[in-house]
Symmetry: C2
């Protein structure tokens, strides 16, 4: 379909580099003008917002917005309640985003199964720690959330030879993966997960799910990987479970406050690996077609791809 | 074919646990008696030696040996010159051995491509280092050696989406991998390898190959992974190349002296990850059939599977 000669896009992100996006967007849509916050000539002229978070002053002055396109697969970084009502919101479901996430998760699985964490600690003590690891088929991986992210990660890890089980809020089936659903199945899911990976959306029902009750059901010495959202973790419960030996280690990519404050106990904990929200990242090359398609849909007043049900929260 | 009622096997290894092997060996060959060094009733009764290294006193008192089966894919840990002459020697080519090695290499590739090394250093300084990594298709992996180990690793890494090139002493072809061969091609192989993995056999021609001339041909900031043998590396050249910024990091699993001496500079170097010779390990479950077959062949005087050409060195 045709596109108006000039379309104005607001870009706002602390994490993403507009220079990485603009050439790809303009190649697909030559009439696109990208205004990188805070250099916005007139907010009333902006058609579509392409943002990680809202600008600090909010979006209320952008009175002609036809769509808000999130710069991520999750939208919890946005303050949903303060978004302009009636403007459709879409998540960015970039195939590369899920592939990058799956690689992060596979790396974390190999890190703990092959005991690279122990080798790094031994190296710091100049200690030759020659122990042979558990075989892959004895290292059971539990994936929480089997959406675009979790499903891709679960498939990659299972294809790599690890036994994989999955847990979701509502029942799912997934070839090659033992599926568990709902609160009542969480304990039996956890009981045989030597490593759990959280890739759930953050909702009222999943907030704090990585806390003492779950940790107490995991096998002794199990590992926790969180690449969902920071608020999935009860920070004090995690530190306590590591300190008591209940858990063997944690790799965390997301935090309740980001950047993780320099005084936070996670930084210096010997059993925690902190990564700075890099498990997954949009790749302009693979994501541009979806962004451009959603700009076209917004201008035409059609439903967006991957439009968010704001009430459900994802 | 039939097997004598009793066969005696000598087991000697500092690295491998005889208790992990004996049940599997005896299940396949009930008449097998395993004598774990130093508890050997009479060396003259031993039919086959299954060893990582020679026992300290050598094998000269084992006067009826029909075969020496190495407990590894490489045989450089054995002092070939002092082995009893005329006794055939075989490497252990366990399919799991190559799969475990390939996983180690894939882990190392993800470690550097996804900048987990930089994130760990940032964590030590409580620094939020949010940078996005190079895309996989821009992270070129060079594999040196395309035998059982190198070929399996190259296939896994290429299948995972990384561009892979291979280098061998003598020309090889390998689907999906750009192959280079011989000394004259080593420079052009290196020039486009953002990370090199050494999985070569150790011979006079490959000793010290991971040294200044090679490092100088790699792209600036390239990474080196050595899971071949310790003597492939010129230790001082590696430290100098890391200190000068020529190389960005190294992951090393094998060393000229093992265990790595506590005073060795590799231990404390911030750009070196030391792992204690765990990149690959025999799995008794998958390797037992080959060991038992070679015991049968030895008793029958037939050539062994994976028999070593001692003059060639592999």
């Amino acid at each position: 379909m045709s596109v108006p000669a000039t379309v104005k896009l607001l870009f706002h992100s602390d994490l993403d580099d507009p220079a990485a996006w603009i050439p790809h967007l303009r190649r697909e849509m030559p009439g696109l003008e990208v205004e990188v916050w805070p250099k916005v000539a007139d907010p009333r002229d902006v058609d579509v917002a392409f943002i990680w978070t809202q600008p600090p002053e909010g979006l209320s002055t952008y009175t002609n917005l036809k769509a808000i396109l999130a710069l991520g697969a999750g939208i919890n970084q946005l303050d949903l309640a303060s978004l302009p009502s009636g403007v459709p919101l879409a998540r960015l479901v970039d195939p590369m985003l899920a592939a990058a996430m799956a690689d992060y998760c596979l790396y974390a699985v190999l890190h703990y199964q092959r005991e690279f964490d122990r080798h790094a600690r031994a190296q710091a003590e100049r200690r030759w720690n020659h122990t042979l690891p558990r075989a892959k088929d004895g290292f059971r991986v539990g994936v929480m959330g089997l959406g675009e992210m979790g499903g891709t990660a679960a498939r990659l890890i299972a294809g790599h030879g690890f036994p994989v089980r999955g847990w979701t809020r509502t029942p799912r089936t997934f070839a090659g993966i033992s599926c568990f659903a709902g609160d009542e199945a969480l304990g039996s899911f956890a009981a045989k997960s030597d490593l759990v990976i959280c890739l759930l959306p953050l909702t009222a029902a999943t907030r704090g799910i990585l806390g003492k009750p779950l940790f107490d059901r995991l096998p002794a010495g199990a590992f926790v990987v969180n690449a969902g959202r920071g608020a999935h973790v009860v920070d004090a419960d995690l530190v306590a479970a590591l300190d008591s030996g209940r858990l063997g280690g944690a790799m965390l990519d997301v935090f309740r406050e980001e950047p993780l404050p320099s005084g936070h106990p996670f930084w210096a904990h010997p059993l925690i690996s902190v990564t700075p929200h890099v498990a997954s990242f949009g790749d302009p090359r693979s994501a541009t077609p979806q962004v451009v398609e959603n700009v076209r849909r917004a201008l035409a007043g059609r439903p967006l791809l991957n439009q968010v049900d704001v009430a459900r929260g994802y």
